[in-house]
């Protein structure tokens, strides 16, 4: 007899989802609504908060195995990640790392239902997502980190980068996985690039079915609880082999070097490309015709001290140099007006750039693997955004960014000191991919140095507020502002450097930045932690910038049993 009664995950709220998956009677919630840890930043903007901030942590057993499910409530603020919700997810994963280090293997399952950063908390979301990513990369070494994307929201924005880092992804046909939401692409790139109302096309681009058929998701299930449990069991047992996609650099990089997008590629064709595993490494990309200078490239030239870029992709500059006797690798993303990826010509992080960063970071890890003194890695950050485009979404730009995140995090964990220098824009997914995984962040105190998650116009559309209202809110909530002085108030910067000409630097400016980099390098060397915890330990973070982030982590510790 056919079973017609199903237990749906898609139709359930986040809390129900977690309890449905765990074995009956085994589960308890950590930091539930009764604890009342809600978002202080929403209240400050007169927005109704939720008692659990839309992030539900439930611990119990699943198929008899110790498991923690972290479930994002997509109905609340589109599942957006703010300071509290982000700290709940990152803090739980960090706790699991500690448990695993003690030999106590507990399985993590993340149920994604999120649009990414919560725009009303902006840079808190960015910091949180960097911490979530860092924790996934570290935790994956002990136990598979499973992501489930059931729908209805799906997984977007910075959170799609964390989904790309998961050991395995389970999706339904109702789930969607992409970096930039269709509405934002239309806003940023125009309706000719993508018509966000063409729902059929969008499902064919980023829906669970095509992501699975394109080898970007591991399992596709019909929406019924036993199916998810079966998939989880098969991942744990090894029956479903882990793909480590973010490490398949040669595959993806050679695909994106050869891809011809002059004529629009249709989803069915893209699927074939993504499945073909032929690696052709002898492709030369044309170098840009003119001499294109950007803030990032000027700083690269100054710091490289005459060394030429060794990178095979013109929009990513890579050079090895010596700074005050310390071996260092510089990496910068720069404009290439001749790039065939026409949505990534102004220094954006796109399909090519993410994978190229990953390649050269991993090259340094490999070359230094037997050395006790690992090379210092310096991302030079001047990135206007990730690339917003049809082909970018179709071919999984999120994964390109995940690959870069993974490489930097892996380098940091391997003992490479990573010091990011913010000399220009440090924006959204581009900053997450290039800079945010550094042990220490240094920024120039200049009006050309901005940190934010989305252009004001797009943010206004998504949050249904006017630009004036956004500016007004930013006065109350520094995480929403774009300027670097506001970002400093969150406590994540190691140093904010005054008196440096950011846009037209001269050798004296270079000397100031270099000595700050060396100071950061020494600070890393004197610190046994290889994670991102220093961002929560600064005076500013503890006294004001990250109070909620710290409190959430302490409470997770207290309620853990």
């Amino acid at each position: 007899m056919a079973q017609i009664i199903t237990e749906s995950l898609v139709e359930s709220l986040a809390r129900e989802r977690a309890f449905q998956l765990l074995d009956k009677g085994s589960a308890y919630e950590i930091l539930g609504p009764l604890d009342g840890i809600e978002s202080p930043h929403l209240v400050a903007q007169n927005i109704v908060p939720q008692f659990d901030d839309g992030m539900i942590i439930v611990k119990g057993t699943l198929n008899g195995q110790q498991t923690v499910i972290i479930s994002i409530e997509g109905n609340f603020q589109g599942g957006g990640i703010g300071e509290v919700s982000g700290a709940k997810l990152a803090g739980t994963l960090e706790k699991l790392i500690k448990e695993c280090e003690k030999g106590n293997k507990i399985h993590p399952v993340i149920i994604y239902d999120t649009g990414g950063v919560r725009l009303q908390e902006a840079n808190y979301g960015l910091l949180s997502i960097a911490e979530i990513s860092a924790a996934i990369v570290a935790l994956r070494e002990y136990v598979p980190v499973i992501g489930i994307i059931p729908g209805k929201v799906g997984s977007f924005g910075g959170m799609s980068l964390t989904a790309g880092l998961c050991s395995a992804l389970i999706m339904t046909r109702e789930g969607r996985l992409g970096m930039n939401g269709p509405e934002v692409i239309e806003q940023e790139a125009g309706i000719r690039e993508l018509d966000s109302r063409n729902k059929q096309l969008i499902w064919k681009m980023i829906g669970g079915a095509i992501r699975h058929e394109s080898a970007l998701a591991d399992v596709i299930v019909e929406d019924d609880i036993p199916n998810y449990k079966e998939a989880i069991k098969n991942i744990w047992s090894g029956e479903i082999r882990l793909q480590h996609r973010t490490k398949q650099i040669q595959n993806y990089l050679s695909l994106f070097k050869t891809l011809d997008i002059e004529k629009k590629i249709m989803p069915e064709q893209a699927k074939e490309y993504l499945n073909s595993k032929t690696v052709n490494m002898d492709i030369e990309l044309p170098t840009p015709m003119g001499d294109v200078k950007s803030t990032g490239s000027r700083w690269f030239d100054l710091l490289a001290n005459g060394q030429h870029s060794i990178s095979e992709v013109p929009s990513v500059l890579v050079a090895d140099t010596i700074i005050s006797g310390v071996n260092a690798r510089l990496i910068a993303v720069v404009p290439n007006p001749d790039s065939k990826y026409y949505r990534a010509r102004n220094g954006e992080v796109g399909l090519l750039e993410g994978w190229t960063i990953a390649k050269y970071v991993r090259q340094a890890i490999e070359e230094d693997k037997d050395l006790t003194e690992k090379r210092l890695i310096i991302p030079i950050v001047d990135v206007p955004s990730q690339a917003f485009g049809y082909h970018e979404e179709l071919f999984g730009i999120y994964l390109s960014c995940s690959a870069a995140v993974d490489a930097y995090a892996t380098a940091r964990l391997a003992g490479h000191p990573v010091v990011a220098t913010l000399v220009g824009n440090a924006i959204s997914g581009a900053f997450l991919s290039h800079g945010m995984q550094a042990n220490r962040l240094i920024a120039l105190n200049d009006d050309g140095v901005n940190v934010h998650v989305m252009s004001k116009k797009s943010a206004a559309i998504i949050t249904q507020r006017t630009i004036e209202e956004l500016d007004e809110a930013a006065k109350e909530v520094p995480s929403m502002a774009y300027d670097i002085q506001s970002f400093e108030k969150l406590g994540a910067l190691f140093k904010l450097l005054d008196g440096v000409n950011a846009k037209e630097p001269n050798p004296e400016d270079r000397d100031i930045l270099e000595s700050a980099v060396i100071e950061a390098y020494n600070d890393i060397k004197s610190d046994s932690a290889r994670d991102l915890s220093s961002r929560l330990k600064s005076d500013i973070a503890r006294s004001s910038g990250r109070k909620a982030s710290i409190q959430v982590r302490e409470m997770i510790d207290l309620q853990w049993r």
Partner: protein, 102 residues
């Protein structure tokens, strides 16, 4: 966001705290906790401003049917009076039988 608070005398204690709902479009969440104060205190935060009269009627009707000494906190995201009433009834129900998530 508008904050509204109502207080009514009450006599019966509830068994245990309860939480229902979600702060999503057209919905609300309710947290209900036992109180020794012999009062029903209802604290509302709503994103839809200017509906004090409607809230008052909905709450008064609820209190006239449920004598509970409790603190009830509501986060509303545009629920209709019907949805509010159903969620309140659900919260009281859950406070009697337990969340039963397991």
């Amino acid at each position: 966001m508008e904050k509204l608070t109502y207080s009514f005398p009450a006599s019966k204690m509830i068994e245990q705290p309860a939480h229902v709902g979600v702060v999503g479009s057209g919905d609300l969440e309710i947290l209900i906790e036992p109180s020794n104060e012999k009062k029903t205190i209802v604290e509302i935060r709503t994103g839809i401003t200017g509906f004090q009269d409607t809230w008052k009627k909905v709450v008064e009707r609820f209190v006239s049917q449920n004598d509970i000494s409790a603190r009830i906190r509501i986060n509303d995201f545009g629920a209709t009076p019907g949805v509010v009433s159903i969620r309140l009834a659900q919260a009281v129900e859950v406070s009697k039988i337990g969340a039963n998530h397991n």
